[in-house]
C-alpha cells in the first residue's frame, strides 16, 4: 500500500510527465458535466445543428447553451442554431413549435417530462428532444448529454421519462454567516454579504448541475433559521439567487422562523391563531412574492430542538402549518412542515414523531406537506423506514434524506448513499396488501445538501455521487442504485468498462461497510457528542437521556439492544400490522435491524451460527476489511484515473481505513468491557485501551454551524 506522500509524489510526477494533465488538472469542479471528448469513432454521430423555437426563452437558451457546451466538449463541431432540420440535427420540440410530420405521445410526457427519439423528419435523420414545456426540453437536453457521455448509441434513441414527484428539493442547512450545519465541504456557497449585487459565477453552475438531475427547488437557509432571512435585505439576496436559478427551473424556498412576527414585526406574540400574527405572515408573503414571483414556499422546523413553534402558544403543528399555508396559498406557495420532533420525556424517541403527527392526519391545509426523515431517529447509517410513511393517508408527505454525511464519515469516508436511498424508497410499508413502498407514499423529496465552497463542491470526489444519486432518484425512485452509480462514474471518471465496473463495485460495497464498522446489526447513534465524529458508545452523561449513546444501545452484562417490541417500548406498533408482527419477534426481524428492535443476550444465536457477540465483532471486522479492499481496488486503478483525483481519493481512503479501525477497535473494546466477554477466538485485540479512545476530543470538528 502506498503512503499518501508516495501517492502525491506519483501524481506530481505524472503531472510533469503528462503536460496534458497538468494543463487542466481535474479538480472535480465540473462534476458530472465534464463533456470530455468521445472516442473519435463516436464523434461522427454528434449533431451539427439544433432546431429550436425563436426567440428562445431563458430556459430554452439554457438548454441550447448546455447542448452547445456539451457537443463542443464531446468533440463535435460548433452546434449551429437552425430553423429547419438538416441531417443529424437535434430538434427541440414542444407542441407549440413541433415541426410538421412529428407525431408524439405528448400527453404521456406531463408538464416536465421529455422524450428522446431518433427518427426521420422531413426526409432527414434527426434526433428529437420533445417536451410539453421548455423546462422539459432542458431536462431532455441534459438527458441527451447524459446518453452521449455514457456511451448510448445516439443514432438509435427512443426513451422517455417524466418525474414521479412534482417537488424535488435540496435543503441547505446554510447559515447567514456562511457556516453550514452538518457541512463538510467548506463554507456556504451563498455569499450573503455580497448578494444581491455580486452574483458568483458558481451560482450558475450550481443551477446547471441541479437541472441536469431534475432538482426543481432549493431551500437556501438552515432549518434552524434566523428571522433575518425574512427581512427585506435578505429577501433581495434570495431574489437575486432566484433570478439566476429561474432559467434552470429551480425555485427558491426559505426556512422560516416561527417566531418571526414577534422578532421582526414587534408583535407581542407569534401565536398562529392571533389575527395580527396571521396578518403579519400574509403581508410578509405578499412582500416575498413581490420580489420572487415564483417563490416556492417555507420550510419549517418548529418545536424541535429548541426552535420556536405553535406549541409555545398551546397550539399544535397543524395550527402552525395552516397559518403559514393560508398566507402562501394565494400566491401558490407550499409549506414544508418537518416532522422531526421529539419531546424531552423518557419515552422511546423513535416513537415520538409518529405520536405527535399521526393524530393530525387530515388536519393540514392542502398546501402543507409534512416532511419526514427517512428514519425515526436521525439519519443513521441504517434505520428502518419512518413509521409515518403509510400512516398519514390524508396528508401529503415529503421524504427527507440526508445527502451530507453527518453520521457517515463526513466528507472523508467513501460511502455511496445510493443503496441507502434505494432501501428506504423501495421499503414496503405493507399498508396495502399488494404492497406500498415508501416512495409511493410521498409527493415530494428533500435532500439535505452536501454542497459547499470546496472546489469539488462536496468535500470529496465520491461525495458528488451522493448529490447525483439523490437527484436522479428524486426524479425516478425506481432507479437502481447500481445503475445510477454506473452512469455517474461514466460521466465523472472514465468510460473504460473494467474501470467503471471496479468503481461501481467499490461504491456498492461502501455503505454496508460503513454500517459494519460503525453500527452493525441495527445499532444506532453511537457517535461522538455534538459533532457526531467517530465512536463514543460510552457516553452517558448528557443532559437528556436520548442524547446518550447508552440510551440507544443499552448494552450491559446481560445483553445489548433497544427493545421496541411489545415487551419494550412497543414502537413496532406504529408500523402496519404485518410489519409490526414481523418486527416484534427477533426470529422474523431482519438481522441488519435486530438490535434496533430487540434487546438480546450476548449469546443469542445468529443465522451464521455465531453468538450475537461473535457476530457483532465479525461485522466490525468485515467493515474494516472492506475498506482495505476499497483502497486496494482504487490503487489498481491508477492508470485509469487522472493523477490529481487518483491521489486525492487514495489519501481519503487511507483516512477512512484508519478511522474504520478506530471505530472497530473502540467499539469492540467498549462492548467487551461492558459484556465482560472474551474476544472470540482468533480476533485481533483493539490497538489501544478503552481509556485511550475515551479521551479523544475534537474541538474544531466541522459542521456544527454558527
Amino acid at each position: 500500500m502506498k503512503t499518501w506522500a508516495q501517492a502525491l509524489a506519483g501524481a506530481l510526477l505524472a503531472a510533469v510527465l503528462h503536460p496534458a494533465w497538468s494543463a487542466t488538472p481535474e479538480d472535480g469542479y465540473e462534476l458530472w458535466l465534464r463533456y470530455r471528448a468521445l472516442p473519435a469513432a463516436n464523434q461522427a454521430a454528434l449533431p451539427r445543428s439544433v432546431v429550436h423555437a425563436q426567440p428562445a426563452s431563458a430556459t430554452l437558451q439554457a438548454a441550447v447553451a448546455e447542448l452547445r457546451r456539451g457537443v463542443a466538449g464531446l468533440g463535435g463541431r460548433p452546434l449551429a442554431s437552425a430553423s429547419k432540420p438538416a441531417n443529424g440535427a437535434l430538434v427541440l420540440a414542444t407542441p407549440a413549435n413541433a415541426p410538421a410530420g412529428l407525431s408524439l405521445p405528448w400527453a404521456d410526457l406531463g408538464p416536465e417530462g421529455y422524450l428522446l427519439r431518433s427518427t426521420r423528419l422531413q426526409g432527414r435523420a434527426v434526433t428529437v428532444i420533445a417536451a410539453n414545456s421548455d423546462i422539459g426540453l432542458l431536462y431532455g437536453s441534459h438527458a441527451w448529454l447524459r446518453a452521449a457521455q455514457t456511451g448510448v448509441d445516439l443514432g438509435r434513441l427512443d426513451a422517455r421519462s417524466s418525474p414521479r414527484l412534482s417537488l424535488r428539493l435540496l435543503n441547505h442547512w446554510d447559515n447567514l454567516d456562511r457556516t453550514v450545519e452538518r457541512g463538510y465541504a467548506g463554507a456556504s456557497i451563498w455569499d450573503w454579504w455580497k448578494l444581491p449585487d455580486i452574483r458568483d459565477a458558481r451560482y450558475v453552475d450550481y443551477a446547471r448541475a441541479n437541472a441536469s438531475l431534475g432538482i426543481n427547488g432549493t431551500v437556501l437557509n438552515n432549518v434552524n433559521a434566523k428571522a433575518d432571512s425574512l427581512t427585506a435585505p435578505f429577501l433581495a439576496k434570495a431574489a437575486a439567487l432566484a433570478d439566476v436559478f429561474r432559467p434552470h427551473g429551480i425555485k427558491v424556498y426559505l426556512s422560516a422562523r416561527f417566531s418571526s412576527p414577534a422578532e421582526l414585526g414587534g408583535l407581542k406574540t407569534s401565536d398562529p391563531l392571533d389575527p395580527a400574527v396571521r396578518a403579519w405572515w400574509k403581508t410578509k408573503a405578499a412582500e416575498i412574492y413581490k420580489v420572487i414571483p415564483d417563490f416556492g414556499g417555507f420550510l419549517v422546523k418548529a418545536n424541535s430542538e429548541g426552535q420556536p413553534g405553535p406549541q409555545d402558544y398551546g397550539r399544535n403543528h397543524a395550527d402552525g402549518a395552516n397559518m403559514l399555508a393560508e398566507a402562501l396559498a394565494p400566491h401558490g406557495g407550499v409549506v414544508l412542515w418537518r416532522a422531526f420532533v421529539y419531546s424531552p420525556d423518557a419515552s422511546d424517541r423513535a416513537a415520538q414523531g409518529y405520536a405527535e403527527f399521526k393524530p393530525l392526519d387530515g388536519k393540514f391545509a392542502p398546501n402543507v406537506i409534512v416532511q419526514v426523515k427517512n428514519g425515526a431517529i436521525d439519519f443513521q447509517p441504517r434505520e428502518p423506514f419512518h413509521p409515518l410513511f403509510g400512516a398519514m393517508p390524508a396528508t401529503p408527505l415529503a421524504l427527507e434524506l440526508q445527502i451530507t454525511k453527518e453520521y457517515l464519515g463526513f466528507s472523508t469516508h467513501l460511502v455511496y448513499l445510493g443503496p441507502m436511498f434505494e432501501e428506504t424508497l423501495k421499503a414496503d410499508t405493507r399498508v396495502k396488501p399488494q404492497g406500498a413502498t415508501v416512495a409511493a407514499q410521498v409527493t415530494a423529496m428533500a435532500g439535505v445538501a452536501n454542497i459547499g465552497t470546496d472546489r469539488n463542491w462536496s468535500g470529496s470526489h465520491f461525495d458528488q455521487a451522493n448529490w447525483y444519486a439523490y437527484g436522479r432518484m428524486a426524479w425516478d425512485h425506481e432507479l437502481a442504485a447500481g445503475d445510477v452509480a454506473r452512469e455517474w462514474v461514466q460521466q465523472t471518471f472514465t468510460v473504460k468498462p473494467p474501470a467503471v465496473d471496479a468503481i461501481v463495485a467499490m461504491m456498492l460495497a461502501s455503505r454496508e461497510a460503513a454500517v459494519d464498522y460503525m453500527t452493525p446489526l441495527g445499532l444506532h447513534h453511537l457517535m461522538g457528542t455534538g459533532h457526531h465524529h467517530g465512536p463514543a458508545p460510552w457516553v452517558d452523561n448528557l443532559e437528556r437521556a436520548d442524547w446518550n449513546p447508552v440510551y440507544f444501545h443499552r448494552a450491559a452484562r446481560d445483553g445489548i439492544g433497544f427493545d421496541r417490541s411489545p415487551r419494550g417500548s412497543n414502537a413496532v406498533a406504529q408500523y402496519a400490522p404485518e410489519l409490526a408482527q414481523r418486527f416484534a419477534d427477533p426470529a422474523t426481524t431482519p438481522e441488519n435491524l435486530l438490535l434496533w428492535f430487540h434487546r438480546l443476550p450476548w449469546d443469542h444465536r445468529m443465522a451464521s451460527g455465531r453468538t450475537l457477540w461473535a457476530e457483532l465483532v465479525s461485522r466490525y471486522d468485515r467493515g474494516v476489511a472492506t475498506v482495505g479492499d476499497l483502497r486496494r481496488r482504487w490503487a489498481a486503478l491508477q492508470a485509469d484515473i487522472d493523477p490529481q483525483r487518483h491521489a486525492e481519493v487514495a489519501a481519503y481512503l487511507a483516512v477512512q481505513e484508519a478511522e474504520a479501525r478506530w471505530w472497530r477497535d473502540a467499539c469492540v473494546a467498549y462492548f467487551q468491557a461492558v459484556s465482560g466477554l472474551p474476544l472470540p477466538a482468533g480476533v485481533r485485540p483493539p490497538e489501544r485501551s478503552l481509556e485511550e479512545y475515551k479521551v479523544l476530543q475534537f474541538n474544531f470538528a466541522p459542521g456544527r454551524g454558527g
Copy 2:
C-alpha cells in the same frame, strides 16, 4: 453606465460568442502567475533548455517546474533539462555548480538574492540565473518569469536583487474552525480538519504565489489564538503545511496563546518567571521542532483586547517575550511580540503602545522582534506612522501592515494599498538628521493576509494586487507603488500599454478616494461597531470610551478633531523633536492628518481658502466622484479584459460607488447635525435623513471570526 444585469448579460453573450473565453474563463485563481502566450514575435526569445544541478533539491525542482510551466504557457517549446549550456539556454547557477567561465559578484547577492544576466557562456548565448542558494534560484526564476510576462527584453537582461529584510511574513488571522477574523474572501484555506492526511492542491499554489514575491514565512493562525494550535494533533497539521511550503522557502510560524501552560499543561500559572512555566515552553518548543525542524517561531498578542499575557502575573512584555525567546533560541526560532496594546484608561489610545513599549527598549532578548502596526490606532485608511518606529533603537522591530481591508471596504471596494504601504515605508521619522525612513527602522515585515477560499483568493480581483504589493515591498521597500501596480497589471490582466496605463491610474487614485469618502483630513475610526463596515460617526454608547467614533472625531458645535498637540494629549511628543514640533502646529501639520493631531473650529481656514467645514464636505464629494471615474474608466476597458473578470469588477465598482455615496451622505448628514452649519452652496444634500443611516444594521457582516 451599465447595470450589473446588463454587464452580466454582456459577459454571457461574449462567452457564447467566443468559445475560447468560455473554455477557460478567467476566474482569478492563477493570480499573477498566468503565463499567457507572448506575442508570436517574442516567443522566439524563450529558452529551450535549462541547465541546473543534478540531482536537484526540492527547491531547485520547484524552480525548474515553475520555469517549465511558465515557458510552456508563454508559448515556448517544452523546456528540457540539460547538463551543458546550448544557445538560448537558461543556466541556473550557484557557486557550487557554476559552469566554467562564469564570473559573478556572488558576495553581493547575499543568501537569498539573485542575478539575471544575458551573457555568453562556453561560446553560447545564454541567460544566467545565479544565486548563492537554491532558494535564491527560485526567487530568480520567478523574477525571470516576471520579466518575461512584463515585456522585458529577455535577450538583454542584467539585473540583480536581494531582499532588504530577512523576514517577510504573512500573518493569517485564521481560526481553527476555518472562520477568519477580518477575512473577506470566504473561509480559511487551511482545512484543519482534513490535515495532516489531506493536503489540498491549493496549498502548493499558495506557496508558489508567495515564493514569487519573496515571502518567506507565514503565521498560520489568528493572533487571538487558541491554545489548541499547540497540541500534538494541530502541530502535526502545521507540520504537513510546512512540508508543502518548505521547497518554496516558506517557514511556518504559529500564534501562541500565552496561557497555554495553564490551559494545556495543567500548570497553576502561566507566569513567565515561574520555572515550571519556563520548562513547559522549553519542552513544547522541543516538541514543535521535532515535527517542524525549521519552525519559524511564535507570534504573540498579549495583554491586548482580552488576550492573556505577562501582565496577568505582574510581569511586563519583555518578561513574557524573553521567556518564549529562551525556549526557541536553541532551535533558531524567533518571537514576534506585538505592540498593539491599549489600556482601558481614559488617556489617548494613540499614545499607549509607545508608553508601554518605549521603556522596554533594550530589555528584549536578541531573538525577540517587536511587531508594530503601521499606525498607532488600527489600520485606518490613513494614519501617521507609529511613533515607536525610530524610538526603539536597541530593539529589532517588525512593521505590521494589514493587507485585508478591515477598514477599507472589505473585498468589495477597489482600494489599492500600494500607496499606503509606500507612505509608511518611506515616511521619514527624523530620528536622524540625514533622514531615517520607517523602513530603515525595521528588520521584518508582516502583512495580515487577505487570503481565503474564494476562487480568486482575495475576494475580488483587485485585492490580489494588495497581496502582491505587500510581498514585493517586503522584498524591496524602495519600490514605487506605481511600478508595482504596473507589473501586477501586466501579469494579471493585460500587457496592452493603454489598458495598463488606465488600470494603473485607477489603482493609484483608489486609496486617496477611500480616504476621501470615509475619513478625510485625518479623521479616523468612524466605522460601524464591531464589523467596521460603513459609516457610524454617531456611535457613542460603547463600553469603552475609545471604542466609540465620537471619541476619535470629537465633533461638536464648536469644532472637530482630536487634539494630540501639547495643548491636548501631547501624543506628538512621542515623535522625534522635529516632527513633534511640526505636528504640534496646525499650520505645519499636513492637511491630510490635520484632524488627527488637532481639534479646530469649523471655520478654520484651509489651504484651499475654504473653511474646514466646506473642505470636509468637498473631500467627501471628491471621494465619491473619483469612484464614479473608476467605474467609467473600467467600463471603457471592456474590449481589453476577459468578459468574466470585466463583468465582475464592474459589479464590484457599482457596489463601491453606492457605498461611497452612503459614506459621504451619512457623514455629511451627521457632521451637519453636530455642527449646526448649513451645507456649503451648491452641495448636494444627503439622500436620506440621518436617522435612516443610523438604523442600518449588518448582523452577518463577514470577518468577525469564530
